[in-house]
């Protein structure tokens, strides 16, 4: 296809009007007859043995229909390794863990009932610091030893000593990869630099809090409406928890008001289902904002040790990283982070000698979760801060130093995967040019303010997945209905997928209808996370369209006594190639279905490369002002450029970058869940500081750029995913700009005013 009609164009969002006018339906907009309201009593202790629970007073309150405790739990548990009971049983392991559930006729009565439940606790020693919890003989948090966990494939073939479950009982999972000879690498380096970076906990702060509504069905199953990124995973987990056949749990994910990795943990759903099962009535559970902060699977606190070696000529020569990840009291999904975080150090720069160790450690803090970038924010901050310091140590420009070490097309990266459709150099060049890298800023100071500039590069991978299915239904009137299992979490996938279907059928985007996010009626999709949807679901939708078209042409060819390959489709009409008059209307040959999967795509890719991942790369440059009296940092101007193969919808891509700016500035300067002895002290938007539009640059001070667009051979129309790295490069660029402005190097996040002022005082 030479000329594209819809793909590559900035068509407006297909759900824009609904969302802007407030008619779009989110989970909490739904209510059912006889519905009850569910609330959760949560533990005030980080670690305690539960004694007697007296629910008699609460049960007697008029309007209360059920009060449940851990004794009423279904058989199964939550979390990747199924370690979290739905309601705490013998012990509570973090402040905020569910201890009892109430269903009542109104929310007010449910809240009142919580106050009437009397729980006896016997406090137990608790541990909050992951490095402390990792030590041998530390207070044991985890009940399952990691010997019960899947083995660690990367260790196979390496004779690396690793502590046993008995020695480090709180280590859930460890991950290791290596390349070359790390010790030799450091010996051969001219400069070796080592630092420790500390990252605190942050929240996704999706505008829509977690919410689930469960309706018991006559066949013993459930229908569950939920704000959930991955309805098919939820269906599977819920069926395991309640020991039901998978199809008996139907999960419907309507529009989702933001997810960012925070809506992947069947949150709220098992509680609503337990209460629905007991009462025989629909039950809705909506998290308060406080509950989102306390039990919303926030991003992990991490400590990163990083040691780098570099040659005098600028070649990055050796890098070893140790990451200690505080996964909280239960596994959540974070133990996968031990592996995924490594991308921040492996997909951008060529390094002959590399060593990686990561540990996921259980503590008595709230359960951690996945977060946009899945470890990228933390690791890229550490890596890019190191890149600045290394450049300075060998007297090289930070931009040139990065550029010379970037992978080029075809190079095999440290994950053993080929670099493809890479425009990292161009991205770096574009942001450097926009910010005026190498030229002096117009002014360097004004009153107490000092101006500085910083730059960063970043990359992230996304799994090329076989687990994405789509169906296409061509309606009588020429409407193209696509059914897919991806979820519209705000990222715009419905628009992208509409464009792809519209392109295949040569029809306006408005003629495409979508049905998505309902496990009973849409085909399976692995998940709308990790930059996956455009690439995987996009490919799948395209193939399903092609399959449907093939069937249409076969029928039409028979009807017209022609060959199928001589037919074309445009705007719902079938043409003979080269003719301007339509031969048939689409409705004339009504065809009910067609199917396609990405499996063939993956097999083709595997055959060619052995590829499991596609990678995106990008760069960020920005200018900050620092107030030397107060420590306040303002980002004045910011540019980002990211490669994404062929942009399916350029405006949507730019919007992804814009959104990364807000996320990145928040993480760099403001956001931090403060936990004191296990208690979250700022679980609200007054005390937890997310930047408003007044704290991020806007308008002419922002440039969200796309490079020329080298197509990815295997992506839909050459496209690939990239949204997750747009928030990862901001903090190191800010840290670099601060150094440029006032000569202080901030290693930890967030870079608050007080920390800046403290550092300024130390350097005098």
């Amino acid at each position: 296809m030479d000329e594209l009609s819809t793909v590559g164009k900035s068509v407006p969002r297909v759900d824009g009007m609904e969302k802007v006018t407030g008619t779009a339906k989110f989970t909490n907009d739904f209510a059912l007859p006889r519905m009850l309201y569910g609330k959760v009593l949560r533990s005030p202790y980080p670690h305690a043995r539960i004694g007697r629970i007296d629910v008699s007073q609460a049960s007697k309150l008029p309007g209360v229909k059920a009060v449940l405790t851990g004794k009423d739990n279904p058989e199964g548990r939550m979390g990747v390794v199924l370690d979290r009971p739905i309601v705490a049983e013998d012990e509570v392991r973090f402040v905020g863990e569910a201890v009892a559930l109430v269903a009542a006729e109104s929310l007010e009565v449910a809240e009142e009932a919580l106050d009437l439940i009397d729980v006896e606790y016997e406090e137990l020693p608790a541990i909050f610091d992951a490095e402390e919890a990792m030590k041998p003989h530390s207070e044991v948090v985890v009940q399952l030893g990691h010997h019960l966990l899947p083995s660690i494939p990367a260790y196979a073939g390496h004779n690396i000593p690793f502590a046993t479950a008995e020695e480090t009982p709180n280590v859930y999972r460890a991950f290791h990869i290596q390349e070359g000879d790390i010790e030799q690498g450091f010996r051969e380096s001219d400069v070796v630099l080592e630092n420790r970076f500390v990252f605190t906990r942050t929240q996704h702060c999706a505008m829509e809090p977690h919410c689930a509504m469960a309706r018991p069905e006559p066949d013993g199953g459930f229908t569950v409406w939920a704000s959930e990124q991955h309805p098919f995973e939820a269906q599977l987990f819920l069926s395991r928890i309640f020991k039901l056949p998978v199809p008996k749990v139907r999960v419907i994910a309507p529009f989702i008001g933001g997810a960012f990795g925070g809506k992947l943990f069947v949150m709220g759903m098992p509680w609503a289902m337990m209460l629905a099962r007991r009462t025989g009535r629909p039950v809705k559970v909506v998290y308060s904002r406080e509950e989102v902060f306390v039990d919303g699977y926030s991003d992990v606190p991490v400590v990163i040790y990083i040691k780098d070696g570099v040659k005098k000529d600028g070649r990055l020569w050796a890098r070893s990283v140790k990451a200690v990840i505080n996964c909280g009291a239960y596994s959540g999904r974070v133990l996968l982070l031990t592996g995924s975080m490594v991308m921040g150090a492996t997909v951008n720069y060529r390094i002959p000698h590399f060593w990686w160790d990561s540990y996921c450690v259980a503590t008595n803090e709230p359960v951690s979760g996945s977060f946009r970038g899945f470890g990228g924010v933390q690791l890229i901050h550490a890596v890019e801060s190191q890149m600045d310091m290394l450049a300075k140590a060998i007297g090289m420009d930070a931009y040139k130093f990065r550029r010379m070490n970037l992978y080029k097309e075809g190079e095999i990266n440290l994950l053993g995967q080929p670099t493809h459709a890479v425009e990292a150099e161009e991205c770096l060049d574009k942001v450097a040019e926009w910010i005026g890298w190498g030229k002096k800023p117009e002014k360097r100071e004004e009153g107490p303010w000092r101006i500085g500039r910083g730059i960063s590069a970043q990359g992230k991978g996304g799994l090329v997945s076989p687990y994405s299915l789509a169906e296409v239904k061509v309606h009588f009137d020429g409407t193209i209905e696509i059914r897919h299992g991806a979820t519209e979490v705000g990222q715009g996938c419905n628009t992208i997928l509409s464009q792809i279907a519209a392109e295949e059928f040569q029809t306006p985007v408005g003629k495409v209808r979508q049905i998505s996010g309902d496990t009973a009626v849409t085909p399976y999709d692995i998940t709308s996370t990790a930059n996956l949807t455009t690439f995987n679901t996009g490919n799948t939708v395209r193939r399903a369209c092609q399959d449907a078209k093939r069937q249409i042409f076969e029928i039409a060819a028979e009807r017209l006594k022609m060959k199928a390959e001589d037919l074309e489709l445009k705007d719902g009409l079938i043409y003979t190639r080269g003719k301007t008059e339509a031969a048939l209307k689409l409705g004339d040959i009504f065809v009910p279905g067609g199917g396609g999967t990405a499996k063939e795509e993956r097999e083709r890719i595997l055959k060619k490369f052995g590829v499991d991942y596609m990678f995106c790369h990008g760069a960020c440059a920005l200018e900050v002002a620092v107030n030397t009296e107060t420590g306040e940092v303002k980002v004045l101007r910011i540019a980002q450029c990211h490669d994404m193969g062929t942009p399916i919808n350029p405006q949507a891509c730019e919007a992804q970058i814009d959104s990364g700016n807000g996320f990145g500035v928040g993480r760099a300067l403001y956001e931090e869940i403060v936990i004191e002895n296990g208690v979250t002290v700022n679980p609200n938007f007054v005390d937890y500081k997310i930047p408003s539009m007044l704290e991020v640059p806007l308008g002419a001070e922002v440039s969200s750029m796309l490079p020329a667009g080298v197509p990815h051979e295997d992506g839909p129309y050459g496209g690939k995913g990239f949204g997750e790295s747009t928030n990862c490069g901001i903090s190191p660029a800010i840290a670099g700009a601060l150094y440029d402005a006032v000569g202080i190097r901030m290693l930890d996040l967030p870079i608050t005013r007080e920390r800046v002022l403290g550092a300024l005082k130390r350097v005098g």
């Binding site: 007010e108 107060t630 403001y670 403060v674 002290v681 007054v686 005390d687 408003s692 005013r753 007080e754």
Partner: protein, 289 residues
């Protein structure tokens, strides 16, 4: 939120009689910007909520002979955009401009703001420094209280359970006087790390300070007047050194506690900086008058 009975009096008399009947069991609702948050967190659980939004005659900004009078139901946005406020007390318009965000300012009223008595409230420091008074009424009668004496503890005022705040009256500044207010906050519209209002009056001959009042927000259980800092300036020539010294005194007079906005040391540091800056701005304004 716990259930409550909603009452909507048609006039001030009815509001007062409802309040004298229900006293501690009632809370007054005007813009709802403070009360609704407290209700939601169940920090207050009144049996009755008395909504005074329909009470006539409490939404005004009036330029009287000696000062400006502002009715309790006047919204922050009205004060922020009032030409009379801009002319008479630019510092007040500036304070309003950084009070939360416009949506809040469209709803929130000055009566609700002051009655709520948040120590970080944006109006109180300026009103204290300007020597404003608050008028309150009840079924039994009325009285006036200087804003400087209005706040007694965290979220507590001198208001009796049956009293309603109805007006704030601010005396005009004399010639040769000027004021300034600034809140330093982590984000625009946030609660303050610290806020400082300063009002100075110069003696006829240039450069000598006749009197100064400095008030602080967000650095104590209530808005505070930094009396010693104000006194330290009286009768002195307005030099950089004198101003800096006043800042140091104000920083000592502040009574901050550590929270997510900042540590005790940082808040005192900010009080010092802001006192210096607001005094300088107030002096410039005083000299131009």
């Amino acid at each position: 939120m716990r259930p409550f009975e909603y009452l909507a009096p048609k006039d001030l008399d009815e509001a007062c009689s409802l309040l004298s009947k229900h006293r501690d069991e009632a809370k007054i609702l005007s813009g709802g910007q403070s009360l609704v948050a407290l209700l939601r967190q169940r920090l207050v659980s009144p049996a009755y909520v008395i909504d005074i939004r329909r009470v006539p005659g409490l939404d005004y900004i009036r330029e009287d002979k000696d000062g400006l009078s502002i009715g309790a139901l006047t919204t922050h946005r009205t004060v922020e955009t009032s030409p009379a406020v801009a002319k008479r007390f630019p510092m007040l318009a500036e304070a309003e401009h950084r009070l939360a965000h416009r949506q809040v300012r469209n709803w929130g009223t000055i009566g609700g703001n002051l009655s709520h008595a948040d120590p970080g409230g944006d109006l109180a420091p300026s009103l204290i420094a300007l020597g404003a008074v608050i008028k309150v009424v009840s079924a039994k009668g009325k009285r006036t209280v200087p804003v400087a004496e209005f706040f007694t503890d965290y979220l507590v005022t001198v208001l009796e359970p049956d009293e309603i705040l109805v007006e704030v009256a601010i005396p005009y500044l004399k010639a040769g006087s000027g004021g300034a207010y600034h809140k330093e906050s982590i984000r625009a519209g946030d609660r303050p790390i610290a806020a400082v209002a300063a009002v100075v009056s110069l003696d006829g001959k240039a450069g000598v300070i006749k009197s100064a009042r400095i008030a602080l927000g967000g650095v104590g259980l209530t808005p505070l007047e930094a009396k010693e800092a104000g006194k330290s300036l009286a009768g002195k020539k307005a030099t950089a050194g004198v101003v800096l010294e006043a800042g140091a005194i104000a920083a000592r007079e502040a009574q901050p506690t550590a929270d997510v906005e900042g540590s005790v040391e940082y808040k005192r540091h900010i009080v010092g900086l802001l006192t210096r800056d607001m005094l300088n701005l107030a002096l410039t304004r005083a000299q131009s008058k």
